[in-house]
Symmetry: C2
Subunit: 417 residues, 2 copies
């Protein structure tokens, strides 16, 4: 196979399908989503037979148990994918929303209409259910999708692609509205991220290495989700109980997630009150503490290095720094945060207002756990990722993040004087 | 001078200044804008002495009269810059706007806050007043700016930079909030577009060549304004007078602008009615017509080639194509439009609705002249360019296009269950 030619053909087909999707009304898109859900349920046997090939290859290639678990299309995963499709069908369609229509002195009426981006390329690693989630979000938002999954899931992904294609056709939409790249050759990715005439945006989902590689090579916009080095700052005016509750929840609710707290900042005036209690609770959960000198003088902790402040542990490890005040806390955040999510614990109105305005992260919180930074918790209904960029979509990206706003102008034969 | 080191220092200073601007309230930013206006007016003599050096060099280098005219900082241009600054001071400050706050079942209250992008790099050609316009828009939207003007205007731009710095300092803002690159070496641009740690977005303003070069080399997002190949489509159900008025205005109001019509599409059923009258009116204005075979059978016109459909004339030339219906018109637009602005002339409700929804351009109009596609006409109050991209800002880009939305979350010690 000539991979460049193959990818060009996928791109052309996606561009053509995107024009059909742009015209497809909500009912038709929902019909396709529900038909795909049915296809998945009806094809469980086929899906699992194909998935078994990936699982066997994974075992032969020495994938660990956690990886194999993420790869498995068991009954529960299939039911989950079908349920996800039905939830996305139930969401409000963002396409065609008109806002801010107002008359101008010239006589024209100007406003904005929400429209699909066009063609979305998604590059992701092992978990095959991403194939269905991503397809569903693109479809509902009126975008054609080109999906490139990991080689570990190649049989599973092609089997899922068949179900998606059948569902699309059942709703009278082109099967090319969602295309799953057949080759697992890396060269295909190189072409996918460099076809601005056919692909409008790239969304990489996976480890930091993947995302950095894609971002550097892409010549179209990338919605990227890098590290989550999230901070909680316990302010001078923090309420004791709220501080303890949030600091505990933000670290220990789940460890391997991007919105978990990695560094706790504590105002000096609070340190002796909150740190001993927190140290006791973290110890119960088996969290390793790494502290600055002032922290280590109050509680038992390993000494933290500069590298700790810049590390996303994704593990039961927490770095703790005692700071003078909110300014020093915000300086620390400006230097070390990845721009994902930061939270302040305070009862002080003016301090909270400053923190909200001045901290430059995709989510900024007051008296709430960083674990809330999530598309479902924010009410987006679904999430294709969390953007740590400032451009276009920022924070959890749902259907709206897959659309753009164009201007519409209505007149009555109006001309410019 | 080591240019890489120089640009890195500019970048670091801009990043630091951006944190100060993020905190600056509306009153302070407006005070700086007004102080810059005063500085310009008070420094007319110095500005014109420095400008004279550019004008002399321009004459020696054989710049044509139009170029020299654009370069001149005469009294009227200086007054215009000062007036522009006062207008931007009068605009509403977009920074800090909070929207969509709603409570979620978990107890958190979630919404969005509008915040500056951070550091904006602007690369532009000859006209020195862009230095002031761009600085003012960035300042009002809370962004630090690094400006890189053309070598033809190097003395003028540095003189303007002095006025800007004094105005910033008068308002107690860092002079580094707006930096004008001192070297005209091309290498500086290469660094400016490749410092994602210091520069958040690049806006090139100038010819197509400049913009394509920047877009290809940049490793940060680019707000770009490429060609304006704008279409007017006279539909089967067009009102005769509106069709004539808009088709004439869109082409002849001004020729050298991106929102001028370059191709007129006419429904076959209308061609014999509207084309003779339009041909008469275009002839009065001295517009050269290039038509498809059907057009040439009705009126006197030169034959249009495929290249004509893809050309932004920026001149008194118009290509005309007779099409079967709105579908063929939209197909033509999908193939040849640059995604800037298209307008349909029709009295038909359903046809207008389809055109608005399906045409994928930054501005889509009904019964209005394409000449309205402009930040001032849309009520943005100012414009830093017109984006033909779909990502982030689309269409005329004003203050809002220089900001992004972050999520804010308010709680009461709320934790995730």
């Amino acid at each position: 196979m000539n991979i460049e030619q193959y990818m060009t053909e996928l791109g052309q087909a996606a561009r053509a399908a995107s024009r059909v999707l742009l015209r497809a009304n909500t009912e038709k898109k929902n019909r396709a989503l529900l038909a795909i859900a049915e296809q998945l349920e009806d094809s469980a046997e086929m899906l699992q037979a194909e998935n078994a090939k990936d699982l066997q290859a994974g075992q032969e290639n020495g994938l660990d148990a956690a990886m194999l678990d993420r790869l498995a299309l068991n009954d529960k995963v299939i039911a989950g994918m079908a349920e996800g499709l039905r939830q996305i069908a139930a969401l409000q369609d963002p396409v065609g929303e008109i806002s801010d229509m107002s008359f101008r002195p010239s006589g024209i009426q100007v406003g904005k209409m929400r429209v699909p981006l066009g063609v979305v390329g998604i590059i992701y690693e092992s978990r095959p259910n991403v194939t269905v989630d991503a397809a569903a979000l693109c479809l509902k938002s009126g975008n054609a999708a080109i999906l490139r999954g990991g080689s570990e899931a190649k049989f599973s992904n092609q089997a899922l692609a068949q179900c998606i294609a059948k569902g699309l056709e059942a709703a009278d939409l082109p099967a090319t509205a969602v295309q799953v790249v057949e080759t697992t050759d890396r060269e295909a990715v190189g072409h996918l991220i460099a076809m601005p005439e056919y692909v409008d945006v790239i969304i990489p989902r996976g480890g930091k290495g993947l995302i950095e590689r894609i971002s550097q090579g892409a010549c179209v916009p990338v919605i990227k989700h890098l590290d989550g080095i999230c901070h909680v700052y316990i302010d001078d005016d923090a309420d004791f109980t709220k501080a303890i509750d949030v600091a505990l929840n933000a670290k220990t609710h789940r460890y391997g997630v991007c919105n978990a707290m990695e560094t706790l900042l504590v105002a000096e005036s609070q340190a002796k009150k909150v740190l001993p209690e927190l140290a006791r609770l973290y110890a119960e959960k088996g969290v390793e503490l790494r502290g600055c000198a002032k922290t280590c003088a109050i509680i038992a902790a390993n000494p933290a290095t500069d590298e700790d402040w810049a590390t996303e542990y994704l593990a039961p490890i927490l770095s703790i720094r005692v700071v003078e005040d909110v300014d020093m806390a915000m300086d620390h955040i400006a230097q070390y945060s990845s721009g994902h999510t930061e939270s302040i614990i305070t009862e002080n109105f003016s301090t909270s207002r400053r923190f909200l305005a001045e901290v430059d992260s995709s989510s900024v919180m007051v008296n709430a756990s960083t674990r809330f930074a999530d598309g479902f918790e924010y009410g987006l209904g679904a999430e294709i990722g969390i953007s740590t960029d400032k451009f276009h979509a920022r924070g959890p990206v749902g259907l709206e993040g897959l659309t753009s706003l164009k201007y519409i102008v209505l007149g009555d034969g109006t001309i410019r004087k």
